[in-house]
Amino acid sequence: AQTVTQSQPEMSVQEAETVTLSCTYDTSENNYYLFWYKQPPSRQMILVIRQEAYKQQNATENRFSVNFQKAAKSFSLKISDSQLGDTAMYFCASSSGGGADGLTFGKGTHLIIQP
């Protein structure tokens, strides 16, 4: 069974600062994918970024980037120039069965951006 661990239940930073959210995972699969999802107070689940495990290059999406350390099974999310709209719950997730068998989520990190 896969496990995903987010060790920071809550984080708070000032607007414009850079923040890193931690995530570690455990899987016995060779073909898997990793995701970060954002859940604002509206309850929507919004994809932030996706990483293919077989790719060594770290994924980036505008202000969001990951540090993927495959051997250490670590997948942290870095948010640069944080904005008030980044305030949300952030969930790290890993896929199984190449993604066909659903996602395993961490318990989430509540990120608060202070003005």
Partner: protein, 112 residues
């Protein structure tokens, strides 16, 4: 508007009652999923489906039933609701397993 829709958005019911949560997607995605979200647990997979008439159990399937007679619909039924099933339920879909899942807006279910 195309996408994935869940209904109802909110539901209150009593223990022992049967309740069905609906999920409909307009993308013709093959894969569909049901998750529940509880404080302190993140999202947990209840059931998933790779195609019409193919369903599989996830991490927490007890007390739930699913069906998928049509590609676009994936209803979740609680046959005899219990208080422990009070939760927020999310439906999701994806075209291929290696692509990101698209989530509905969720159903908040309260069982009294």
């Amino acid at each position: 508007d195309a996408g994935i829709t869940q209904s109802p958005r909110y539901k209150i019911t009593e223990t022992g009652r049967q309740v069905t949560l609906m999920c409909h997607q307009t993308w013709s995605h093959s894969y569909m999923f049901w998750y529940r979200q509880d404080l302190g647990h993140g999202l947990r997979l209840i059931y998933y489906s790779a195609a019409a008439d193919i369903t599989d159990k996830g991490e927490v399937p007890d007390g739930y039933v699913v069906s998928r007679s049509k590609t676009e619909n994936f209803p979740l039924t609680l046959e005899s609701a219990t208080r422990s099933q009070t939760s927020v339920y999310f439906c999701a879909s994806t075209r291929r397993g290696n692509q990101p899942q698209h989530f509905g807006d969720g159903t908040r279910l309260s069982i009294l």
